[in-house]
Amino acid sequence: MKAKIIITPKKAVLDPQGKTVQGALAHIGFDGIGAVHVGKYLEIEITGNDPEYARKQVDDACHRILSNPVIEDYRFEIE
């Protein structure tokens, strides 16, 4: 199995990277560009074959170390 995890800055947190990328996209001529949020993508290979157990483990890992709940949100899927 594989966990695919996406971590993004919380809406209330300053995201200077996102702002800079948004500015750059507009600058090189892309129109209709709104707010950009730059986050992280992680893939974790998981041994075992119990998707429910894997889901719990990944959720715990996201909460405790992979993301910082003060500044980030996370979501993931197990495939």
Binding site: P9, A12, V13, L14, P16, Q17, T20, I65, L66, N68, V70, I71
Partner: protein, 260 residues
């Protein structure tokens, strides 16, 4: 009095802290490798600057799970004094020993320069020897020093008088221009609700000798020493004479520049 300076893979201000506590202030200080699980007979813990674990994932995110940090958690829970500088501040926030988080500077640039700090309260083990009106001139060197906390946390910090230092200009005003990283409310350093744990982004250990251009950082360490002595019941109030005596015999920065 024994000071423990933690050392993680990627710490790079550890030797500077040991140097200042040992050679400048004259106390016993030793390095403690992150894999140690005990603080031994340490009276206070200093967490140095650097890039622990390469800043991978987030600054301080991996260091906080080092065995030594479990000992620091227990030490702090028992009222032990802990000071984190720069990466040490980031580690303390990740460990939940201080509220909030430090994120990428608003400018996206690494800032390495001297700044001015205003001390907001002398009511802490880290600020008790700092004259109320004195601005501290201390260097910063960081890419991720923008202090962030949600409104509720920020209000709690203010209500409990936990904000210890703010970035200010030479006149002591906390202006936008004097804020090097976009920190909320120009926050440069805070302490825990119990006041025994503190962190700041600027580097007082780089401003503790006249040869380096400023000795203002020493006031923070001398506050900590005073608090520790007071807690042992043998505090002696530091006065101007002792400060002058300490300065005696040390050449000033301009003298050194002239000699060179």
């Amino acid at each position: 009095m024994n000071f423990a300076v933690l050392q993680f893979p990627g710490s790079n201000c550890d030797q500077d802290l040991v140097h200042v506590f040992k050679n400048v202030l004259g106390y016993s200080a030793r390095l403690l490798w992150h894999k140690e699980s005990s603080l031994g007979n340490s009276d206070a813990v200093l967490i140095p600057g650097g890039f622990s674990y390469g800043d991978y994932l987030r600054t301080g995110a991996i260091a906080r799970f080092s065995p030594i940090m479990q000992a620091v958690q227990n030490f702090a829970a028992n009222g032990g004094m802990v000071l984190g500088v720069c990466n040490g501040f980031q580690i303390l926030c990740e460990a939940g020993l201080l509220p909030g988080a430090l994120i990428r500077n608003r400018s996206l640039q690494f800032r390495c320069e001297h700044i001015f700090l205003k001390t907001i309260t002398s009511d802490s083990p880290f600020t008790n020897q700092i004259p109320p009106e004195k601005l501290l001139r201390i260097p910063i060197a960081h890419g991720e020093g923008c202090y962030f906390a949600d409104d509720e946390t920020l209000n709690r910090l203010k209500d409990n008088n936990q904000i210890l230092w703010r970035y200010v200009d030479a006149k002591g005003e906390a202006t936008e221009a004097a804020n090097p990283n976009g920190s909320l409310n120009n926050i440069a350093g805070i302490c825990s609700e119990r006041r025994n744990v503190a962190g700041l982004m600027p580097h007082p250990e780089r401003a503790s000798e006249a040869i380096l251009g400023s000795t203002d950082g020493r006031l923070i360490f001398e506050s900590l020493i005073y608090a520790l002595e007071r807690s042992r019941g043998k505090a002696k109030k530091r006065d101007e004479t002792t400060a002058a005596q300490r300065e005696e015999g040390r050449p000033s920065a301009p003298e050194i520049a002239k000699a060179a």
